[in-house]
């Protein structure tokens, strides 16, 4: 057990704080929702009712989609684009998909390589892009889930104000959907760009997200 925790500490730590913050969000969200309901003379909801509401899941999915978009773009963009001096970039001359030899694929794979890395054709094509494909799929699925839940919330508000409900297709063109989407995207893009740029000159000793403390500022793609 101790070995399991030590070997997987990073994943366990993030899973634990994810569970805590998701729960905390549900309680804070319920209070906010009920305060607004009371203000407008509407019925308040229990915690159980709130966590089964589109208000809660819309908020959850709204943040999930932007995080998965952020990582999808970062994974994809760093194949082709480089940033001199950044820990988040590979060396300038390595821009692109790189050779099979460098990627340890096909006949360059070792006995310990994943089975699909030793394969050729479609299997190899899928496996060599499996991380990006999975992250993009999760992004689109969570974005869809966000749109469906926020659409339901939007129509609840419309009905409360005695206005006409809109179709899901119409909601996708509504500024409410895009405001909720873009407010998350812009912050993710700034944060990723900042990580790429700040690691040129700033350091965190011991972190693989930083260059070694003594690495020159123009050294690219080295982890500390």
């Amino acid at each position: 057990m101790r070995t399991f925790v030590r070997e997987n500490g990073l994943s366990i730590f993030f899973a634990a704080i994810f569970a805590v913050t998701l729960t905390a969000q549900s309680f804070a969200g319920q209070h906010t929702y009920n305060a607004e309901q009371a203000e407008h003379g509407g019925a308040t909801v229990s915690w159980w009712e709130y966590i089964a509401s589109p208000d809660y899941w819309g908020a959850v999915m709204e943040n999930w989609q932007s995080e998965f978009l952020q990582f999808s773009l970062f994974i994809g963009a760093t194949v082709w684009l480089v940033q001199k001096g950044s820990n988040e970039s590979k060396n300038l001359q390595d821009a692109g998909r790189e050779s099979d030899e460098k990627q340890r694929m096909g006949r360059h794979a070792s006995a310990e390589s994943p089975l699909w890395a030793r394969a050729r054709g479609l299997k190899a094509g899928i496996y060599e892009n499996s991380l990006l494909l999975t992250m993009v799929a999760i992004f689109f699925a969570t974005w869809l889930a966000q749109s469906l839940n926020h659409w339901r919330v939007f129509n609840q508000d419309q009905r409360a104000h005695r206005e006409e409900a809109v179709s899901w297709g119409r909601y996708l063109l509504n500024p409410d959907f895009w405001e909720k989407t873009l407010q998350n995207w812009q912050s993710e893009f700034l944060a990723v760009g900042t990580m790429a740029v700040f690691t040129i000159y700033l350091r965190q000793r011991g972190s693989p997200e930083s260059k070694p403390v003594g690495a020159p500022h123009d050294e690219t793609g080295s982890s500390g």
């Binding site: 070997e7 899973a15 899941w57 699925a141 469906l148 659409w151």
Partner: protein
């Protein structure tokens, strides 16, 4: 040959044990994402 097969079998067991933790966290994260997505879509579609 038998000895080799046993040795390979035990190596596979050691290998499986070594990767059990990694597999567990991979499955855990995958399940959380899939479960979250299913619940979110279900909640939205269940609304009147």
């Amino acid at each position: 040959v038998l000895t080799d097969a046993r040795a390979q079998g035990s190596l596979r067991c050691v290998g499986a044990g070594k990767s059990a933790g990694m597999r567990a966290v991979f499955v855990l994260y995958s399940l959380v994402i899939v479960a979250g997505l299913i619940v979110a879509v279900f909640v939205a579609l269940a609304q009147p």
